[in-house]
């Protein structure tokens, strides 16, 4: 039963991801990515990583992709569906994709990620919390500082200093 579900969710995840990058319409692509996140959450549940599954849906499907969709809809999506890419971009994409694939193949051949018995990963909220606040405390805090830096950066960018000649109309 679990093996069948694992194969089903793996297939759906891969199929969804493939559809994301082959769709022309950005809204369809974004919604397919949401669906792919769901199937990935299914895989997490099968690994008994409940917290990770819920966080996956909450953070990626529920928050980040909503903002993606927001931006896509505010921009003109129809222009994007008509755009074609040149030969240089194609070669570049192939090179980057190939490098990523090679890196992945290296990790898989390394074998450390390969054999994890189903249900061996401790996925309860308490277990994840213990790991985050003991073993991985420093990387966890550094990641939050990184996010803070990005937020501050955005605020600095949108509040760029005005040129002296276009002073605000009042005051």
């Amino acid at each position: 039963m679990e093996a069948a579900l694992f194969h089903l969710f793996s297939f759906l995840t891969l199929a969804g991801a493939l559809l994301v990058i082959t769709r022309r319409d950005p809204v369809n692509a974004a919604m397919l990515l949401v669906l792919t996140f769901f199937f990935m959450a299914g895989l997490f549940v099968l690994a008994h990583a409940w917290f990770l599954a819920a966080a996956q849906i909450l953070v990626y499907a529920g928050a980040i992709m909503v903002l993606f969709l927001f931006v896509i809809m505010l921009l003109d999506a129809k222009e994007e569906t008509r755009r074609c890419f040149g030969r240089v971009a194609g070669v570049g994409a192939l090179a980057v994709g190939g490098a990523l694939l090679a890196a992945l193949a290296g990790v898989i051949r390394d074998g450390r990620l390969w054999r994890v018995p189903a249900g061996d990963a401790e996925g309860t909220t308490a277990a994840v919390g213990r790991l985050l606040f003991n073993t991985y405390l420093l990387p966890f805090e550094v990641a939050s500082v990184l996010l803070l830096a990005a937020t501050v950066g955005v605020i600095v960018l949108i509040r760029a200093p005005r040129r002296p000649d276009d002073a605000p109309p009042s005051a």
């Binding site: 919604m31 409940w50 917290f51 819920a54 499907a61 529920g62 928050a63 909503v66 969709l69």
Partner: protein
Amino acid sequence: MSPVFSNLLAQPGVALAAEAAVKIAVVIVVLMGMVAYTVLAERRICALIQDRLGPNRVGAFGLLQPIADSFKLLLKENVLPGHVNRFWYVLAPTIAMAPPLLTLAVIPFGNTLAGFNLVIADLDVGVLWIFSIASLGVYGIVLAGWASNSKYPFLGGMRSAAQLISYEVPMGLSVVSVFLLVGSLKLSNVVAYQAGTWLIFKAPLAFLIFLVSAFAETNRLPFDLPEAEQELVGGYNTEYGQMKFALFFLAEYANMIVASALIVTLFFGGWQVPFVRVEAFGPILAGALGVAAFFVKLLAFIVFFIWVRWTLPRFRYDQLMRLGWRVLLPLALLNIVATALALALKLRA
């Protein structure tokens, strides 16, 4: 019972699935019934507040009105406007309706009755599940606005996305203090913790933030900007009619009921009966009393939601954003720090 059937039920997985299926059916039927009669209650209570009578012609006190309304909506001709993006236009109402049905699965509506736990799935990540599924409701509204290919729905959809994302943050942060106190995300543990005192007395600020955010998350007045009639015609559902419109309508009321159920579970003791030791009445009566207590509290909150809607005026959009980001968010953070400090000092003492 035929032997084949009883043999099938004897298998552990099958019995579990059958139990879950029965619970799911009961919960959905009860929820949809409550939705229908909440609509009627809303119409009758708002009429009362405005010194009118409200719908009182169909059946005694208008009690058959929801049935008449649902038949009207079901039997209407199915019209698809020519300028819409068909796929997402048709799918959007379904996406809006799914989250309230899914989130109900983890809310315990009673302790135990005849040996059955009165919750569909008591997940370890309970509240996290509710937040993650509830955060998907915004897709239905955003996609409806976008797929309608029309100005007002689009504006309504965009407003809604910004509002829902903004208020998810203080809402999520406000319950952190609850979990610091309880020490678990599981909703059955949260209810069990409140056997003595309800959490509203231990975390009043968290309750206040959660309540305000719940009003915003369910698009109810004073935060119903996504469908502000005077500014947006009807908002995201302007181009919708028939059962597709009805689904949005049902989703709004279902969301309100789920939000009320969550408030009751988190802050008002869930199915705990106050002042009475129900165990003394024997298991069956105690279980039934628990369910009754849950529903009485739930109904009180539904009436409160309706009462607020017909009492307060609507916020302006900038006021809404300022309240969310500048008032509720810092308050929620402060609440977490204060609760954590108090708990740490208590542990040391």
